[in-house]
Amino acid sequence: MFLSSFRTTAIAAIAAIAVFGFAGFAPSAGAQSVEKIKKAGVIRIGVMGEQAPWGSIDANGNFSGYDIDVARLVGEELGVKVDFVPNAVPARIPNLLTGKVDLQMAVMGMYPDRAKAVQFSKPYAGLKIILLSSAKNKIEKIEDAKNLRIGVPRGAAQDKAITALLGDGPNIRRFDDDASNMQALVSGQVDAIGGNTTYKLSLDKASPGNDYEQKLVFNEQWQGICTKLGDVELNAWLNQFIDKIKSDGRLEAINKKWLGAAMPKFPDALEGVPFTAK
């Protein structure tokens, strides 16, 4: 009726060798350079696929948003076609490290722990990481939310902020992406969610007439364009690109278009996050 136990064991052993044997062949995606990208005629940029107004897919099936517009400018300046690669929040860094994308422009907050794994450029966008909940819930400090079920996108800045403040526990519910996180709030599966200042736009679309409001601000976040550590040339090119679009008004226009606000005053340095590759 069943495989004999000897055969089962033998098959298991072979399977284990097959699986762990691959560990020795971890792909070592090589460094990316401006020249290589120009030669390929295409740059692969990782973006968010469902996080308006940063990156989402509109009714016509086209990518649109703040990150998308800046990414299109990158393509324009380099004179290459842009290939948009949508990624889930937890897949952003792995996609970059394994060479699935050349750059990551997916609302990547600039934090020291991430700066150990990837290279950030100068900031080109910013937002606030906040806690959102119904007006009925009284939350003035994080302790007030201790007994509430809080949704976060797994591995996102708000996951880190809330886990650090409240400690890890079953009340912190981690979802795959921002869309499921918001859906969890709308359907009442959680009482509050960690999000950012642009969540409200999407929540109003998903649930018109809701009473969700900003309760707490965890931190102000700056976003940079990520490359792999050691992509010195590409990083230098991106920094001069960001300076250029900041000074010629193109970034200002993108801020007005998507966030309805003037371009923020970007910081010149961030603790633990170097802007230039070594």
């Binding site: 009726m1 069943f2 089962t8 298991a12 399977a15 284990a16 699986v19 762990f20 691959f22 560990a23 971890a26 792909p27 070592s28 937890p90 860094i93 792995p94 490290l97 394994t98 722990d113 991430r114 150990k116 794994a117 990837v118 949704g151 797994r154 591995g155 996951d159 079953p170 519910r173 981690r174 979802f175 795959d176 499921s180 859906q183 969890a184 359907s187 009442g188 599966q189």
Partner: protein, 220 residues
């Protein structure tokens, strides 16, 4: 790229917890699936046409839609009609319904393989209709289809990984957190692969042991 498995070793407690979570979801899901499977086949063969039609419809709907959509439906859509379940309960119900639909098809196949004469012999010996179903039809049918039922249940065990999407606590969610915190995808997912392999083999062995005990009466 150098590999550093110490990041995984540091969190073995969390991994063990995740593995237990996965085994809990899988075994609860299997128990529910088995219940749904047997009950479903009993209803299918019953006299109530409406019920057997509903069972048939249930099997077709579940077997022809993706599990991810089913679990999202239970988690995100049912609250709109007032049924709100926590992630663990959602996962068990979705796994049970999914596994149950496949179990119905498998068990039905076994039941149909029992020759009609066997049923008639049971009735001729004065057994009640339900006793005939239980002892004369179901038991030999289960013995015949037990291997395919077991592999379906192994598949169910591996399907638990999808439950991470609704924030249920299981092994994949732990692995994804390790990855999110350390950015060590290879180490995290290679370790997960190994643990899943062990869980599957344990499940296989456990189901085989149950099979030997439950069906050890002589063939003839």
């Amino acid at each position: 790229m150098t590999l550093d498995f110490s990041v995984v070793a540091d969190v073995w407690r969390a991994l063990l917890g995740g593995a237990l979570g996965t085994m809990f979801l899988a075994s609860s899901g299997m128990a529910l699936a088995m219940l749904i499977g047997v009950l479903g086949v009993w209803l299918l063969r019953g006299q109530m046409l409406l019920l057997s039609f509903l069972v048939g419809a249930f099997v077709e709907v579940i077997r022809n839609t993706p599990f991810l959509v089913q679990i999202y439906f239970v988690f995100f859509a049912l609250p709109l009609v007032g049924i709100r379940l926590n992630p663990t309960a959602t996962a068990i119900i979705a796994l049970g319904l999914n596994g149950g639909a496949y179990a119905i098809e498998i068990i039905r196949g076994g039941v149909e393989s029992i020759p009609k004469g066997q049923t008639e012999a049971g009735l001729a010996l004065g057994l009640h209709k339900n006793e005939v179903f239980r002892f004369i039809i179901l038991k030999p049918a289960l013995r015949a289809i037990y291997p395919s039922l077991s592999s379906q249940f192994i598949l169910l065990t591996l399907t638990t990984a999808i439950c991470t999407s609704i924030s249920a606590y299981e092994l994949t969610s732990v692995g994804q957190r390790i990855e999110a915190e350390t950015f060590r995808s290879f180490e995290a997912y290679f370790t997960l692969t190994g643990i899943y392999l062990v869980i599957s083999l344990l499940t296989m062995w456990f189901l085989a042991a149950i099979g030997r005990r439950a069906f050890d009466y002589p063939q003839r």
